[in-house]
Amino acid sequence: MSTEPAIVTEALTRRFGDLVAVDQVNLRVDAGQFFGFLGPNGAGKSTMIKMLTGLLAPSSGSARILGLDLTRHSVEVKASIGVVPEGLALFGRLTGAEYLNFAGRMYGLDRETAAQRTKELLEFMQLADRPKSLITDYSHGMQKKLAMAAAVIHGPKILFLDEPFEGVDAIAAGTLKSMLQRMIARGATIFLTSHVLEIVERLCSHVAIISKGKLVAQGSLEELRAGIEARQGAAASDGKLTLEQIFLDIVGGSRETERELTWLG
């Protein structure tokens, strides 16, 4: 396996007018990691993933994907990554099979390979039952599975997923997780953002936390846990800290609720 990190950013920054959505972020994700990128709403997660996949230009700073500068080698980088963006990037008027074939061809696969992988992916994602249905008529969960299938059809080395489990039922989530674990076993790198901390805790080996545009923590779960336990001393050592506790501790989300909204009963 290459020793080159999968993702490296240096002082990556993105401004929208006066708002600094991502502020001087230095991030490192090693190859083969299942990486969770966490943060409260509006912290800059989606902006970060858009910059790393070429959907958004950074205001300053740089990003290297698989050792290649994203700005100068965008086509080469795009050929090596798969992305499930926020909007899912689907063409509603195609059927699932047509879309996957199209995606395969756009990623340079020949007709036969694209068709073969389309068949396998549709079966794996349990989307094969409705070959004539247009994507626009799919449920949200089906669309998410299809977007995931399109993102992996070319066998990417890095997979970027923006909230992959949002609005997905338990069955579909199980299918998606199964695919992601296969990819990790094969040596791919996965970079995902999610609000569902339990899933991140179960799947990811490493996490980074962004808050108000700044990277406030980065490392393996054990490293983050150890850092907090060292800071809090015996108080935290009663049991193993969950990712939610770690997250709230770092982001500062705990609050005094006793005296709030007393009229709620």
Binding site: K78, M106, A128, P131
Partner: protein, 558 residues
């Protein structure tokens, strides 16, 4: 539960909604775009008030003279005008303005009576309704001045007529909303809408046709149309006034009773629709998708059947985009209609014009270039200048895939070129069959002109598509039109390209050397091809610098 007071009454709830609308308007003024829209709405309102009051004066005077001169049967004509304006205006307004969907308010503890009242009040304040009410009021004034004894009867008839219009309009929009919520019905209606727009082109020839045969056909049509018009609400209202003026109040009441029955029926149909909305029906596409689709086979089609097309000479990405464009065209009725209608329209218009001898002054050899200019305008105006209009979130895929943006647009241009070539062949056959076989010189000159005009259009259109994208939905009427810059540039470009082609053809023909236009057009085509190549070369960097605008506009939620 502690702290909960009584649910507000209907008046209070309507008041809350009025305040909500005011806040929405006030907040829309926070940015320049909102302020500009408010200014343009203000200008529109000023123009509209001119139409309202001008129309009102006309209606009042017309009613007065019709009553005073004893032409009472013509009053139905005025009630028909009011009816058509009241009903047609909201449909056209809905096609350009984003409407406030008050069904969203159902999440609050709104009484059905409030919901129902809101629907009617909303209808009452629709600009079309306000104008129509002013016109009806003017009619009543005109009627009362001409015949003071009709003040009471006129008021009753016109009030019931207004109520019927209100109920009918709201009922129609409520049912349309239900039908339009489904993609398939939306497309069928879109298909019909485009057919109606296209059929407007036939109004002129049809009217001229009647002018030639006015002694027979109009009377025949009138004998069929008049009884129907009399039995419909505007006819009933007009005739009730007519018989009231004649002193036959028994028959006038009988007609008014039918008008009341119409109003009651529309009110009932509106209530049926609104109570379904109130109970919380879900009209979204997903609910349709949730129902299991008929499954033809348990597995996917074989790999060979599912494979993409083999298009010789095209790279993977260009071929994939070309295939996707063809699939998209066949999946949208309105889009397909726009692409295939030009040739049948040439046949239809050709027949009509030939019958009328409209081609007397046009040399037969010039029919082919004229027909091609017409086809070119229809196809390319609709498909070249806003190429990503229907991509939706798919644009993200184009930006994420490892392809050059020029290849994406090249694939799209090839599709339009393919359609243009097919239509050109069809039109050549049609013209040869209906008029005269176009000579080799004229055929080659026309194709050369088409080549230069298409290349120029693609060069301009690709840049506009990237710089000024505008999301459109298949068969959805409530949406914005093309960007203003796109519309202006496209119109100027068409005027210049078609005008230049026409001038060159006319000049060379006047020297009896139409073949001379071929090298001229080919020279133009070379210049256009250079321009096209330059524009293609710039597209990658242009797409990169406009990627945020592209995704923001095309991926925005409706």
């Amino acid at each position: 539960m502690a702290g909960i007071s009584q649910i507000p009454g209907v008046r209070q709830q309507v008041g809350f909604i009025a305040r909500l609308r005011w806040l929405l308007f006030k907040n829309s003024l926070r940015n320049i775009k909102g302020r500009l829209e408010a200014v343009s709405a203000g200008i529109l309102w000023l123009m509209m008030s001119g139409l309202v009051f001008g129309g009102g004066i006309f209606m009042g005077i017309a009613t007065y003279f019709l009553v005073a001169s004893g032409r009472w049967s013509w009053l139905a004509g005025l009630t028909w005008i009011v009816f058509l304006f009241w009903q047609v205006y909201p449909i056209f307004a809905a096609s350009v303005n984003v409407q406030f969907d008050f069904a969203n308010l159902l999440r609050f503890p709104l009484r059905f009576s409030s919901f129902f009242a809101l629907s009617l009040i909303y209808g009452l304040f629709d600009p079309g309704a306000v104008a129509s009410l002013v016109w009806l009021f003017s009619m009543w004034i005109g009627l009362s001045i001409a015949r003071p004894a009709m003040l009471g009867w006129g008021l009753i008839v016109l009030l019931i007529f207004a109520a019927m219009n209100l109920f009918f309009g709201r009922m129609l929009l409520a049912w349309l909303e239900k039908w339009l919520a489904r993609r398939r019905t939306r497309e069928i209606l879109g298909f019909i809408f485009i057919l109606i727009i296209i059929s407007f082109q036939l109004i002129g020839p049809t009217l001229r046709h009647f002018e030639h045969h006015h002694s027979q056909l109009p009377n025949g049509w009138l004998s069929i149309l008049l009884p129907v018009a009399h039995a419909l609400p505007p006819g009933l209202a007009g005739r009730s006034l007519q018989f009231g003026l004649g002193g036959n109040f028994l028959y006038a009441s009988y007609l008014l009773l039918f008008l009341l029955l119409y109003a009651a029926m529309f009110l009932w149909l509106l209530r049926v629709r609104l109570s379904a909305q109130f109970r919380g029906e879900n009209l979204s596409e997903t609910s349709a998708a949730a129902a299991p689709a008929p499954v033809r086979s348990r597995g996917v089609p074989s790999a060979a059947a599912a494979a993409s097309w083999k298009i010789p000479g095209l790279s993977h990405s260009i071929g994939a985009v070309f295939e996707k464009e063809i699939r998209y065209a066949f999946r949208s009725g309105p889009m397909l209609l726009t692409l295939i209608m030009p040739a049948p329209l040439v046949v239809l218009l050709g027949f009509t014009f030939r019958q009328q001898g409209a081609f007397r002054h046009l040399p037969l050899q010039m029919v082919f270039p004229v027909a091609i200019a017409y086809v070119f305008l229809i196809i390319q105006i609709n498909s070249v200048f806003n190429s990503f209009a229907y991509e939706g979130t798919g644009i993200q895929f184009m930006l994420l895939a490892p392809v050059r943006f020029r290849d994406v647009l090249l694939g799209k241009n090839l599709f339009v070129a393919f359609v243009t070539i097919v239509e050109t062949l069809l039109v050549w056959i049609v013209v040869a069959w209906m008029f005269a076989r176009p000579s080799v010189e004229i055929s080659v000159a026309t194709v050369a002109a088409l080549l230069y005009a298409s290349l120029a259009n693609f060069a301009i259109g690709n840049i506009l598509s990237v710089c000024y994208p505008r999301r459109l939905e298949f068969g959805v009427f409530r949406q914005k039109k093309q960007a203003g810059v796109t519309m202006i540039v496209a119109l100027v470009a068409q005027a210049v390209l078609v005008g230049l082609g026409g001038i060159v053809l006319a000049l060379t023909r006047s020297f009896h050397r139409p073949i001379l236009s071929v090298p001229i057009f080919l020279a133009f085509a070379i210049i256009a091809a250079i321009g096209y190549r330059v524009s293609l070369g710039r597209l990658d960097s242009l797409a990169l610098s406009h990627r945020e605008a592209l995704t923001a506009e095309l991926c925005r939620a409706e």
